[in-house]
Every structure is written in structure tokens, then in C-alpha cells.
């Protein structure tokens, strides 16, 4: 059973890390769109490969996440559609097509909508891979790999990433290729969403990208602190959600999302009260 928690912890760390980048880039709703449209990528890849456990599904889905981002940007570039409306146009479209294909052709395949929404973290220990003599859940190995990739990406591009997230125009003037960096960032977000959503579902992916990063931003002042605290909060939320979910015998991934929001609201209330008190004293 404890292996479920391992899976949750690595996936949550990845989401926390990427979430704080997305929060600074103001693209959390794009991530929401991605976490739904990758379903179409999976469906299309499945059509060609015919095997649900093939790594090509991850490649196809990740690619589709990037296609979603690019489509939104193309629509915005026409100058006729605002960013928020473009997201609202693209994401239901791709998601609806995926749902149609699944309900038409793949109803007998294990590829259903509930899985997409909820994930199946409870079942993750059932699918294991042997690694150095120990049997580990496949999603744990996958999650750790993606976490390392994400970490490596941030480490390598750290300076450019930080500058372009906080001052895009300045970053351009000093010669950082912001557009390319953006695309790479969204590729990693997409990869994180793809590998996470198999185990924890699309909704928890968004919850774990938004809530821990936002909780962290209330508590810290610098970018590195934001990254670290965001990961810590994500891990704390999943641990709490895991044990409370087990205790109450309900869906663990929904519980983690609810706990994450509760945690945010608590921190938000305390920091806001403190801020108001300081204002009062100053006045």
C-alpha cells in the first residue's frame, strides 16, 4: 500500500515544480487545457500502436500537449481572439474529439473517461517493473524519471528561465531565445501532465500544479524558495491526502486535491490577516 504514497510523492513533486513555473508564466489554465487534450494524443497514438502500455503513447500525448499550446498561440496571433477565449475554443474541441473517438471505437478497450478524470493511483502497485532486483510500481519509476528530467531542465536553463519568467522583454534584449525556451518549458509541462495523469488523473494534475505553488508564493520571497517550498507543500499535501483518503476509504486523488485547496485557504487566511494587521499598525 505504501507504494501508492511513493507514486504520489514523485508525481506531486514534479507537479509542484512545474506549477511554480506556470504560476509565474501565468499559464496554469493552459496546463489545464493540456491535461485534457493529451487524451486525444493518447487516442491517436493508440490507433497506430495498438498497445496501451507502449511508451509511444507518452510521446504522442506529450507532442499533442505541445500542439495544443501552439494552436492556442496561432489563434491569438491572428489578432482576432483573446488568449482566454482561444484556450476556451481549443481545449473543449480536442477533448470532445477524443471523447467521440473513444465512445465510437474504443469502448471495449481499457481507456475510459473515469480513468482520465480520477486516475488510478490505488491500482498503481499492480503494474510493476523490476529494477535492480526490487519490484517497483511502473508509474513510480516513470514518475521519478520525469522528476529528474524536470529538475535537470530547470538546473540547466535556470538563469535564462528565471529572467524570462520575471521580465520577458529584458530577457529578449539580452539575447535569450524566449520563444524556444517557452516551447521547451511547455514540452516538459506536457510530459509531466502525461505521465502524472495516468496515475493521478487530469484534475489532480491541475490541483497539484496550482495549489502548492500558490501556497508557496504566499510564504516566500525569492524564486528558488518558491520552487523548493512548492515541492515541499505538494509532498505534504499528498501525504496528508493519502492517509486521510485511506482512513475514510475514499478516492485518494480527489482527497489530495481537496486537502491541497484546504491547505492553500488556511495559509491564505493567515497571511491575509497578518497583512491587514500590519497595515492597521502602520496606519
Amino acid at each position: 500500500m505504501i507504494q501508492i504514497l511513493w507514486v504520489l510523492l514523485v508525481v506531486a513533486s514534479s507537479c509542484g515544480l512545474m506549477g511554480s513555473l506556470l504560476l509565474q508564466r501565468e499559464s496554469l489554465m493552459v496546463a489545464d487545457a493540456i491535461s485534457h487534450t493529451i487524451l486525444l494524443g493518447i487516442v491517436i497514438a493508440y490507433y497506430f500502436v495498438g498497445d496501451l502500455s507502449s511508451p509511444w503513447l507518452i510521446v504522442g500525448a506529450t507532442l499533442f500537449g505541445v500542439i495544443t499550446v501552439v494552436s492556442i498561440e496561432v489563434l491569438v496571433k491572428t489578432g482576432r481572439i483573446a488568449n482566454d477565449a482561444a484556450i476556451g475554443l481549443v481545449f473543449p474541441f480536442f477533448f470532445a474529439i477524443a471523447v467521440l473517438i473513444i465512445s465510437k471505437y474504443y469502448t471495449n478497450v481499457h481507456l475510459d473517461i473515469d480513468m482520465v478524470l480520477l486516475g488510478q493511483v490505488e491500482l498503481s502497485p499492480l503494474k510493476s517493473t523490476e529494477l535492480w532486483g526490487t519490484l517497483l510500481p511502473t508509474s513510480f519509476i516513470q514518475g521519478s524519471l520525469v522528476l529528474m528530467l524536470n529538475f535537470g531542465f530547470i538546473l540547466i536553463t535556470y538563469r535564462s528561465l528565471k529572467i524570462s519568467l520575471f521580465d520577458r522583454i529584458f530577457a529578449e534584449t539580452i539575447g535569450i531565445r524566449v520563444n524556444i525556451l517557452d516551447l521547451i518549458l511547455m514540452t516538459f509541462v506536457s510530459l509531466t501532465a502525461v505521465t502524472s495523469f495516468e496515475s493521478i488523473g487530469a484534475i489532480l494534475v491541475i490541483a497539484l500544479m496550482a495549489a502548492p505553488a500558490m501556497t508557496a508564493r504566499l510564504l516566500v520571497r525569492t524564486f528558488p524558495q518558491l520552487l523548493i517550498v512548492s515541492v515541499l507543500v505538494a509532498m505534504l499535501n499528498s501525504t496528508l491526502g493519502y492517509y486521510i483518503g485511506l482512513y475514510l476509504d475514499t478516492s485518494i486523488s480527489s482527497m489530495v486535491a481537496v486537502i491541497s485547496f484546504t491547505c492553500f485557504m488556511l495559509v491564505f487566511t493567515f497571511t491575509t490577516i497578518r497583512k491587514l494587521k500590519i497595515k492597521q499598525v502602520n496606519a
Binding site: R80, A96, S103, L204, S254, A257
Partner: protein, 295 residues
């Protein structure tokens, strides 16, 4: 394919429901798009889900009208929380939407899980509750369609009654304020109307896709006209046409869900309008090249 099926009573019930819904959501969605609040529709669409489940648990009924009240109540709670966080923090608006959307929807899924496992609820048929996520237009009954029509008539009537004020508010809120129109009040009223349409549309299109019914017709309409009055009419008509074609296709082809089909047709209309509309990309290109020649 069409010959195999008849335009029977059930088809017309479903078609009537989705078409009325398509018209109203197209109409009211224009305000969301013009206010740059498209994502709010998506967030509220997800956030109303726990309201449906809680009211099911409280009243142990699947009466659509009662569940609709639950949806509206939770939509209002979600909106208040969004405004609260927005007022007391400097988070980007969209991040607050993502936060509230995921939290509320997860809460709904959690409650649904409770309903599934608790024998107390087994006496009532709870299976239909799942339909509020992806929508099940094919199972719309006359009572549901009646509810859609009642809500639509009220929403459209109020909208038309206040049309001059709404128009002023959308295009020049500061001027509207100076001549004594309460912008705050209009904005809240518009939101309430959106919320009602979302709640009533959940059963047909589902929480996941309802935002498209609001946003896509408005985008399509914008590509044909610059007058708000015409945009309203066009958005309503586009919504209605897409709903009819979508329902028709999903009835004619087996194993095709109505809600997603309507969304696909609607987006196709929006994309085609974007290219071929009189204010679209092609027209713009032709117009500019013509101007250059005459110069």
C-alpha cells in the same frame, strides 16, 4: 445512414432542448468573451458539480430542478471565493481560476465516490449523476427540456430588457458608471445568468464542455460583424444551428455522444468563420491588398 432512423418524438425533444440551450448560451456567452472572462465559464462549469451531488445527497432525488439549485448555489460560492482571493492577493486571475476549478471539481468527485459506496443512497438511482460530467443529451426528458426552456426565456427576457445598459457596460463601463448605471450590479447579473445557463446545460453537455457552448458562438459571431446587436443574434443562431446538427449527427451515427458532437460542430463553425468571415482573416487580406492597389 439517415434512412435508418426516423425523426421521432425523442429526437425532437432532445433537439429542442439542445437548440434552445445553444441559442441562450450563445447569447449570454458574448458577454463572457467581451469581458475577457471566457475561462470563468470553464471554472464555474466545473465548480457547480459538487452542488449537484450535495443536493442529491440532501434531498435524495434526481429531480433536475432541485439539483439545478444546488449547482447555482455552488457556482455562487466558487465565484465568491475567486473574488475573495483576487481581492486580497496579487495572484494572476487565471491561476485563481485553475485553483478553484480543480478543488471544487475534485470535491464533487469525492462526494460522488461517497454516494457510490454508501448503501444509504442505493435506494435512489444515482447512476445518472455521472452524466453531469460529460453530459447525456440523449437521455433528456420533457421535464428537463421544459426547464431549459423556462430558464432560457427568463434569461433572454432579462437580457433584452436590460440590453441598452448591458451594451454600455460591456463597451464603456466608465461612461456607463458616469450616467448612473451600476456596473457592479450589471456584471453580477450577467454572471448569474451565465450560471443559470451553465446549470441547466450540465445535463445535456456536461461540466467539461459547457464552456465551449458559451465561448465558441461568440468567437464565431465576432468574425462577421462589429455591431454588438448583430453579434448577439449571430451567436445565438450559431449556437442553435450547431446544436441541431450535432444532435442530428449523434442520432444518425451510432455510439456518438451528443454533447461532444455539438462542441465539435460549434468549433468547426468558429474556425470557418475565423477564416471566411466578413471580418475574418481572408477578408482582411483581400481588403488590405485592395487598399494597396488603390493607393
Amino acid at each position: 445512414m439517415l434512412s435508418q432512423f426516423s425523426f421521432d418524438y425523442f429526437f425532437w425533444i432532445v433537439a429542442l432542448g439542445t437548440m434552445v440551450l445553444g441559442f441562450t448560451s450563445g447569447l449570454i456567452g458574448t458577454s463572457l468573451v467581451l469581458e475577457k472572462q471566457s475561462q470563468l465559464g470553464d471554472a464555474i462549469g466545473h465548480a457547480v458539480y459538487p452542488g449537484v451531488i450535495i443536493f442529491f445527497m440532501l434531498f435524495q432525488t434526481r429531480n433536475t430542478a432541485i439539483l439545478l439549485v444546488g449547482a447555482v448555489v455552488f457556482g455562487l460560492i466558487a465565484f465568491s471565493i475567486i473574488q475573495l482571493i483576487r481581492f486580497y492577493s496579487d495572484f494572476p486571475y487565471e491561476s485563481i481560476l485553475a485553483l478553484v476549478l480543480s478543488a471544487f471539481f475534485s470535491f464533487g468527485l469525492l462526494l460522488y465516490n461517497v454516494v457510490q459506496r454508501n448503501p444509504q443512497f442505493q435506494t435512489v438511482n444515482f447512476a445518472g449523476l455521472n452524466n453531469y460530467i460529460m453530459g447525456q443529451a440523449a437521455f433528456l426528458m420533457w421535464s428537463d427540456v421544459r426547464l431549459i426552456i423556462i430558464v432560457s426565456v427568463v434569461v433572454v427576457a432579462v437580457f433584452m430588457l436590460l440590453y441598452p445598459k448591458i451594451k454600455l457596460y460591456l463597451f464603456d463601463s466608465i461612461f456607463a458608471q458616469t450616467i448612473g448605471i451600476n456596473s457592479q450590479w450589471i456584471s453580477h447579473l450577467l454572471l448569474l445568468m451565465c450560471l443559470l445557463v451553465i446549470a441547466v446545460g450540465l445535463q445535456a453537455v456536461g461540466a467539461k464542455l459547457i464552456s465551449s457552448m458559451l465561448v465558441a458562438p461568440a468567437i464565431a459571431a465576432q468574425q462577421w460583424t462589429q455591431s454588438y446587436g448583430k453579434m448577439l443574434g449571430l451567436a445565438g443562431v450559431f449556437g442553435m444551428i450547431a446544436a441541431f446538427i450535432g444532435t442530428l449527427l449523434s442520432t444518425a451515427i451510432s455510439n456518438i455522444a451528443t454533447g461532444p458532437m455539438i462542441v465539435v460542430v460549434l468549433t468547426a463553425i468558429a474556425l470557418l468563420s475565423l477564416v471566411f468571415g466578413t471580418k475574418g482573416i481572408l477578408a482582411d487580406k483581400l481588403y488590405t491588398s485592395h487598399k494597396e492597389v488603390s493607393r
